[in-house]
């Protein structure tokens, strides 16, 4: 059977297209980038429970755990505290101790005075939703305060290393929780999550 020039051209085009897509798959890298200055991996033995806050409706207190990353970053993570152990509550209400993983929210406190995060916990099973504000302030931060959706300004109690945590009932938007910090030198900085 003889192929017409049009059929040959079409076959060549199809083959070329397949070749092009295959080459792209082979040569375009999709692997994770090299570790960044804020590696989230913990330096062994650097972790500690910084601060806790009660949540009577849910039972176990919330806690913020901090550690220093292998790249020198300051990392914080929010969790629950049971008999001095840091962990999480699953959908079945079981406590599970959390090892020091690469789970912290890490920042460089040489460049900014505070690492600030909000965890959003939706309603699961019998647990109502929670919005948990947590972080760690540098030693030159005199005060960390948050204004809730009720308009009340709350000063956050800092742990020995500057860690803080506060839980709010409901699923709040970050913009509902503007945070103001005051440095020992008197300057103020507002984080409005916008």
């Amino acid at each position: 059977m003889r192929l017409t020039p049009a059929v040959k051209t079409a076959a060549a085009l199809v083959a070329t297209a397949v070749l092009g897509v295959s080459a792209a798959s082979a040569f375009v890298a999709t692997s994770p980038p090299a570790p960044t200055p804020q590696s989230p991996i913990a330096r062994a033995g650097s972790e500690r429970i910084e601060q806790t806050t009660r949540d009577p409706e849910l039972g176990l207190a919330w806690a913020v755990r901090s550690y220093i990353s292998t790249s020198g970053g300051t990392c914080v993570e929010a969790g629950r505290l049971k008999n001095g152990r840091f962990g999480q509550i699953d959908a079945g209400q079981a406590f599970r101790e959390a090892p020091v993983e690469e789970a912290g929210t890490c920042a460089d406190l040489r460049e900014e005075p505070v690492v600030l995060a909000i965890n959003h916990y939706p309603a699961i099973g019998q647990s109502p939703p929670r919005t948990v504000l947590f972080g760690q302030a540098r030693a030159d931060v005199a005060e960390v305060a948050v204004t809730g959706p009720d308009g009340v300004k709350r000063r956050l109690v800092k742990g020995a290393g500057g860690g803080f945590v506060l839980s709010f009932a409901g699923a709040l938007q970050p913009a509902d929780l503007p945070v103001q910090i005051t440095l020992l030198a008197g300057q103020r900085q507002t984080f409005d999550w916008r």
Binding site: T9, G20, V28, T36, Q88, A91, E102, A117, I118
Partner: protein, 131 residues
């Protein structure tokens, strides 16, 4: 009636093939990057597996940089929201860990990430997607 010589056909076909190669490579590259579980759009972000592909430990992550001061990383399993994180500041990494929110099927999970001023909200799937 006119006929086309083999030389004339070749002159038309070769540029066409080159064009097809370029277009198909571009298409493949776009699809490859868009489907990746973790990639770089100015900053690294996406879905990160924990110890293995099936231990239920995974992360939604957005690294800092490129002038951004607000980052979001939210987690979904079987299309349902399981929890997430928002961070602010110029150097903080958004890092939502699945274990913070319970015990979920890793291969059926996605992260929805955004980085204000850098990229808008979009989805990254587990690399062993089964959802």
């Amino acid at each position: 009636m006119t006929s086309t010589s083999p030389a004339a056909t070749s002159r038309r076909t070769i540029p066409l093939l080159v064009l097809a190669l370029v277009c198909s490579f571009s298409f493949g590259a776009i699809v490859r990057i868009a489907a990746a579980d973790y990639h770089v759009t100015c900053v690294g972000h996406g879905f990160v597996h924990g110890g293995s592909l099936s231990d239920g430990s995974f992360f939604g992550r957005v690294e800092p940089g490129c002038g951004s001061t607000l980052r979001n990383c939210h987690l979904y399993t079987w299309g349902s929201y399981i929890g997430g994180q928002t961070v602010t500041g110029s150097t903080a990494t958004c890092n939502a860990w699945s274990w913070n929110f319970g015990n979920y099927t890793e291969c059926a999970s996605t992260t929805h990430v955004s980085n204000q001023g850098v990229f808008s909200n979009h989805v990254h799937k587990a690399s062993n997607w089964c959802g």
